[in-house]
């Protein structure tokens, strides 16, 4: 371990493989790129069904599936101090230097960051979503976030809008928040060799069919577009509570042969669905960063999307047509997209995407954040408590109490199970195949999934 810049990172989140989603993919791909840069990465998440214990993934990525069952929306039951022993053991065994938590909605992440700070480790947090301020759920979540981020070393957000939102919710100084966007695996999302021929224009929608993703907007937009353009057809992939409404819309307007409903699309088949279309439609009502748009652009599709959240920052103006989130404006945007479609070259778009987004670039920028985090000074308990006190009149004192108890429990644990007794894991460095591209990793990722 001569290289002093080699970090030993523990990624923590409730959301990881075998679940598929934005956060899960982000953690996996970021970890793979960091491994390629020579760092050590270990992931910690909760058990998924029978999948409990230690597993190894491609590239030697070690994953701890801690035997806690999820209790609500993939989150582990928050016990405050219950996770302290296991986290301490993992941190000592793997000789971790830095803990990186993901997603504000993950209870495991908050607990891990709290314990890591108590034990003196440096901590980085990445926020992946936008939240409001007005409803009860958001108010409580923001308070919890304020607690966790009161003492974080650095924070990362996936878009500039997300940075504004996180800074307002948590009260962090803006200089502590880095904006490092997600990226897309361009080797996997390649356009078709030949564009779908014929004079039919196919519009693809792939999203969860829920209110938040604008499924109701689709119900208004699709019949109108089908009426205006007889040569347009829709492919709708995804499932959810609003699927019934879309089926009803199909029946009502007799669009069975023009609107194809695919149901839930496994991640491995997303590309094949995308390349069968010309235009990608995203109707989300809120989005911190939309990876689906990147995947579509990488496959050479022209995107039509609602102008919400961080979406305007994601693509250059000539690759996306933005609309206000209401049906009339969206129909106008689709009209404009259809008119500029002949000028779009999918291969050209794909090549541009390769330059605009790259996971290796994301990993390098994250590395800079880690370097800065490790340069932060070590603080004693008293200095840290003053930061928690600033969180609020009542909340501040409560947070201080929580941290003091955590500190005492940690000391107790040190006496009961001294660090010397915990066996340290030796470093196993796999021979890295330099030629192997990210796509093979991703393929292995998907094959792992299909074997289950």
């Amino acid at each position: 371990m001569g290289d002093s810049k080699r970090h030993r990172i523990l990624m923590v989140s409730d959301f990881f493989y075998p679940n598929f989603g934005g956060v899960e993919n982000h953690i996996y791909l970021l970890s793979q790129c960091l491994l390629k840069l020579g760092h050590k990465v270990v992931v910690m998440t909760h058990a998924y069904g029978n999948r409990s214990g230690v597993r190894y993934m491609t590239g030697g990525l070690k994953v701890y599936y801690v035997p806690w069952k999820p209790f609500l929306l993939q989150n582990t039951l928050p016990t405050f101090y219950g996770t302290l022993p296991i986290i301490r053991t993992i941190l000592i065994r793997e000789q971790i230097s830095l803990v990186h938590g993901h997603q504000a909605f993950s209870t495991l992440c908050h607990e891990a960051l709290m314990h890591a700070r108590t034990m003196g480790y440096k901590v980085v947090f990445t926020d992946h979503s936008l939240y409001g301020f007005a409803d009860v759920g958001s108010i409580h979540m923001n308070k919890v976030l304020q607690f966790t981020l009161a003492d974080v070393s650095q924070a990362i957000c996936v878009s500039h809008t997300s940075k504004e939102n996180t800074v307002l919710r948590s009260g962090l100084p803006p200089e502590k928040v880095y904006v490092i966007p997600n990226a897309v695996d361009t080797a996997m999302f390649k356009p078709a060799a030949e564009r779908p021929s014929g004079n039919e224009i196919t519009i693809v929608v792939i999203s969860r069919l829920v209110y938040r993703k604008g499924a109701d907007l689709l119900v208004e937009v699709i019949p109108e577009v089908c009426r205006m353009y007889p040569n347009v057809r829709f492919i709708v992939g995804g499932d959810g509570p609003k699927r019934v409404r879309l089926e009803e819309m199909r029946e009502k307007h007799s669009l069975q042969d023009r609107v194809e409903m695919l149901g839930a699309v496994p991640h491995a088949q997303v590309r094949s669905v995308l390349i069968s279309g010309h235009i990608f439609l995203n109707s989300s009502l809120t989005e911190a960063f939309c990876i689906a748009i990147l995947e579509a652009a990488s496959c050479g599709l022209l995107t039509v999307s609602t102008r919400v959240g961080g979406v305007p920052e994601v693509l250059p103006d000539d690759m996306i047509v933005l609309a206000e989130p209401d049906p009339t404006d969206m129909v106008q945007a689709i009209k404009k997209a259809i008119s500029i479609l002949p000028m779009i070259d999918p291969q050209d778009m794909h090549n541009r995407m390769k330059k605009l987004y790259d996971w290796h670039d994301v990993a390098k920028r994250t590395e800079i954040v880690y370097d800065r985090a490790l340069k932060c000074s070590n603080q004693s308990l008293l200095e840290r408590l003053s930061r928690y006190l600033a969180c609020g009149a009542w909340a501040g004192k409560l947070f201080c109490l929580v941290m003091i108890i955590d500190f005492l429990l940690w000391r107790l644990l040190q006496l009961w199970k001294p660090a010397e007794d915990i066996e340290v894991v030796p470093d196993i460095v796999l021979s890295l195949d330099e030629d192997r591209g990210m796509s093979q990793d991703f393929q292995a990722f998907n094959e792992d999934h299909s074997l289950r």
């Binding site: 939240y131 504004e164 939102n165 880095y178 604008g214 009502l285 959240g309 250059p316 605009l356 800065r372």
Partner: protein, 235 residues
């Protein structure tokens, strides 16, 4: 923690753009906070600026109800003591319009007043007494809201006069009956008309509503407003 690299103020440095693509922007760190940071934020957009006098005038309507309740209670009391003749309660009133769209709360309040009247009625000497008291209570509780609403619509001045005279009359009657109750009623009326408006306006200072580009789009209300406008234009 060194966040600011000594930047070269040469004119060749590109302007910072609020975009996520293209990797790190040359000349800027990832944690660079531009002057345009939070420029899309709107604070307290939906908060209504309240005027103390207006709020006090509105609270006068609320103070009518304790007065009515107390008056009915007084009537019960006088009837029980036989100071009031039962025939004088049988006043003939015309209903100023039927009760439209009754809500759950109005049902509950009506039922409560009926139950209360029944308890009083159980103490009364004759059937005529009971009938008179029940009828009187029902009429007052049913029609009082309608009467006050009609007066308010007709003339705000008349409404204020009516309210103050109601309060004065109630206070006068209670004063003759029981000193302690008078003090309590006076305290309640002062609380409702003066203290509560002041408290509301003080608490408004703490209102901190934040809106911005990160909010979930609320297109349904936009569409509904549009439909209402179209409908009203058509009629």
């Amino acid at each position: 923690m060194d966040n600011n690299i000594a930047e070269n103020p040469s004119p060749t440095r590109a302007k910072w753009r609020k975009v996520a693509y293209g990797g790190m922007q040359p000349g800027f760190d990832d944690n660079h906070t531009d002057d345009s940071f939070l420029e899309g934020m709107v604070m307290n957009a939906n908060v209504v600026k309240r005027d103390m006098l207006k709020v006090m005038q509105d609270s006068v309507s609320i103070s009518q109800y304790p007065c009515i309740v107390v008056l009915v209670g007084l009537v019960w009391n006088y009837t029980l003591r036989s100071t009031l003749d039962e025939t004088s309660l049988l006043i003939n009133r015309r209903a100023p319009g039927a009760l439209k769209n009754p809500t759950l709360t109005s049902f509950i309040s009506l039922n409560v007043s009926v139950v209360a009247s029944v308890f009083i009625a159980s103490r009364l000497p004759s059937r005529l007494h009971v009938f008179a008291v029940m009828l009187f209570s029902l009429q007052v509780f049913l029609f009082a809201p309608l009467v006050t609403y009609c007066i308010k619509k007709y003339s705000f001045h008349l409404h204020l006069c009516f309210s103050f005279s109601l309060m004065a009359v109630t206070l006068a009657f209670v004063y003759t009956l029981h000193r302690l109750l008078f003090v309590l009623l006076l305290g309640l009326l002062v609380f409702v008309t003066v203290v509560c408006p002041y408290w509301l306006i003080r608490m408004q200072e703490y209102k901190f509503e934040i809106n911005g580009p990160w909010d979930e789009a609320n297109w349904l209300s936009f569409v509904l407003i549009l439909q209402i406008k179209i409908n009203s234009a058509n009629h």
